[in-house]
Amino acid sequence: MTEQLTLSRALNAGLRRSLADNDRVLLMGEDIGTLGGVFRVTDGLKAEFGADRVIDTPLAEAGIVGTAIGLAYRGYRPVCEIQFDGFIYPAFDQIVAQVAKLHYRTGGNLVLPITIRVPYGGGIGAVEHHSESPEAYFAHTAGLRVVTCANPQDAYSMIREAVASDDPVLFFEPKRRYWVKGDVDFEEEALPLGSARIVATGSDVTLVAYGPLVATALDAALAAADDGLSVEVIDLRSLSPVDFDTVEASVRKTGRLVITHEAAQSGGIGAEIAASITDRCFYHLEAAPQRVTGFDIPYPPAKLEEHFLPDLDRILDAVDRVMGRENSLTGWSAS
């Protein structure tokens, strides 16, 4: 059955199905029950499954994730909601020092099927700590799977796969795309959680994006086509592991790589992809891989966010750069 849903309703449908399929699945978080979450992703689930399974917790992120670990010891599959990206840090210790490492530390005896949902990214004119992209911290941490959806279909399928995963999953939700509609096939044969998806085929440039910027990347590919360029767009979907095989195959074909994400550049996902693909495809590259990212600054105030977020024009400028066309840095020198 197929239905038109917004990304947030698709997540809601995926969570409902997960709750129905397995009675060890629990949802926990701040304001997720009666209110249905500040983005309404869990709307109606408390009424349907009860306060025992859709749990409004005290206001404490370390508490949410820490108690989820204890519940995992008892065989539960907790799905934790962190209300906004910038509020995950009180739980950072529990995630990095505990969730990520306990399977290893227990010699594999303990599994941690914990999903941590995080609305992330900017572009909604929010106040501080409400627009961040902290995914690289977690992708840098062994033991965590890190994924992000970009459309309603993947939202529905990937949240179910994340909840079903015996590994802990950081599930990043592109909050500015919550209201974007798309077809959701509830019986879709989902791609494995760790795989990327080619969302537009092309032959000149490989453009890698994920989460909120996939839509922007697709727009850029359309605009580039008007300029006679053929851009292949890859929705990465998984940030740990990265599906390098898919990216490699594309770059072997195009010879050029542009990566875009909202998160700051240094030490980011783009750096990892650029390095790994350079290693794998060195002799196929026609130009140095380019990153179009947020700057290495804190996310700025709302009235300045357009001067932080990668957009269509900045992506096209990088496409021009890898194509050797005139671009903003033509003739530029560092001095």
Binding site: P90, V127, D296, L329
Partner: protein, 404 residues
């Protein structure tokens, strides 16, 4: 100081270098005292343990301990407290309207919490320092923050509306509870410097669940820091009722950390002021930290983005409307013959003027320069960031040149 327990005596009888305060039984002379032997909410209604000077009907009742701390508050000062409360409510209403009109991105109303904020902030000295959450716009007003500076962060033009050192007030904190540790550290600094300034942490009922707040109380108690934990229990943390954060009154929590507490009617400006003065006096004279729970109600939504109809019970709202902080002071001032038509008119003129100025300055706020995003990331130059800034400058002139 009680000598019954001596935790700071080292084995050989020498005082350790950092002489921590000996454990002290919560002081029994504080009104609305939180002690370990108190009954839970089931044994005692929350109402009767609230300390109050002004009843909701505006009657002034005798409260022997508190009265002495506000004995100096004369008619003029009462009018001035009243004026502040009326003005901040007006600012709040105006800001909500500005948000609805698209001039502000968001606004967290303080409606209903005027007495908690004005009563406490007006008790402070200039050299005291406050660390607040996002909702304490009345505290900011009382600290002397300029009107336009109240809205910068909500309009999205800056992350800090003012220089903290100009007004003795930190940049409002969005990360729930974090500021309680900052206040405690500031207080430890005051103590080390031998000054009698006090740090005040403002936070909500929801915040008391955060680990940071417990850690702040532990540090404050261990170092006997001159800090006040001022908790506005407005009954809600977004949609979550206070009962989810605390199964006993919030004021019951700090005594376990060795910090005495008071539970005051947060809609009674005089009771709040008296309690704050007691806590300030303790802090200034080496008495250490105090916890104040100001029991109040969030009469508006959590923020302008919130829809309380999804979770709030209308009857409870009505009940609290009858305990309005401004209304009760008004009633008292009327019965005392202080609120003359003249005074009323003057307060109205003042709040009209403030509202007009507030709106005009808000609407007049310009967006900052694009390249300012790179400023103040570091105190010293950073080569990597400099490079990004220059490249982005090149990009901006390239796109403005119309090439792309």
């Amino acid at each position: 100081m009680s000598s019954a327990t001596s935790v700071d005596k080292s084995v050989d009888g020498e005082k350790p270098e950092l002489a921590h305060k000996q454990f002290e039984e919560p002081r029994s002379d504080l009104p609305g005292l939180g002690g370990s032997d108190r009954g839970g909410p089931d044994e005692r209604g929350p109402e009767e343990e609230l300390v109050q000077i002004l009843t909701p009907m505006g009657e002034r009742i005798s409260q022997p301990v508190l009265d002495t701390w506000v004995a100096d508050v004369d008619g003029d000062q009462l009018v001035s407290l009243y004026e502040d409360m009326v003005v901040v409510r007006r600012i709040d209403v105006e800001a909500t309207a500005l948000q609805r009109q698209g001039e502000l991105g968001l606004w967290p109303p303080l409606l209903g919490q005027e007495a908690s904020q004005i009563g406490s902030a007006r008790a402070l000295r200039k050299d005291d320092f406050v660390f607040t959450s996002y909702r304490e716009n009345a505290v900011a007003y009382a600290r002397g923050v300029q009107l336009v500076d109240l809205v910068r962060v909500w309009r999205g033009t800056a992350f800090s509306g003012w220089n903290p050192f100009d007004v003795g007030m930190a940049t409002p904190q969005v990360i729930i509870g974090a500021q309680t540790l900052h206040a405690t550290g500031y207080a430890i600094g005051c103590q080390k410097d031998g000054v009698d300034s006090v740090a005040v942490a403002y936070f909500g009922d929801g915040a008391t669940s955060q680990g940071d707040v417990s850690e702040a109380m532990i540090f404050a108690a261990s170092f006997n820091a001159p800090v006040i934990f001022f908790c506005q229990n407005n009954q809600w943390a977004i949609s979550e009722p206070v009962g989810l954060q605390a199964v006993r009154p919030i004021a019951d929590r700090s005594p376990g950390f060795g910090i005495p507490s008071m539970r005051v009617d947060g809609n009674d400006v005089l009771a709040v002021m008296a309690a704050t003065r007691i806590a300030l006096d303790r802090a200034r004279t080496g008495g250490g930290p105090t916890f104040i729970e100001a029991v109040t109600y969030r009469m508006g939504p959590h923020t302008t983005s919130d829809d309380p109809s999804r979770y709030e019970d209308g009857a409870e709202h009505e009940e609290w409307a009858a305990k309005d902080p401004i209304l009760r002071l008004e009633r008292y001032l009327e019965s005392a013959g202080i609120l003359t038509d003249e005074v009323r008119a003057a307060v109205k003129t003042k709040s009209d003027e403030v509202a007009r100025e507030f709106r005009a300055e808000c609407v007049g706020l310009k967006n900052p320069e694009p390249l300012s995003v790179f400023e103040n990331v570091y105190a010293a130059p950073h080569s990597g960031l400099e490079r990004q800034k220059r490249q982005y400058a090149a990009y901006l002139s390239y796109v403005e040149g119309g090439t792309r």
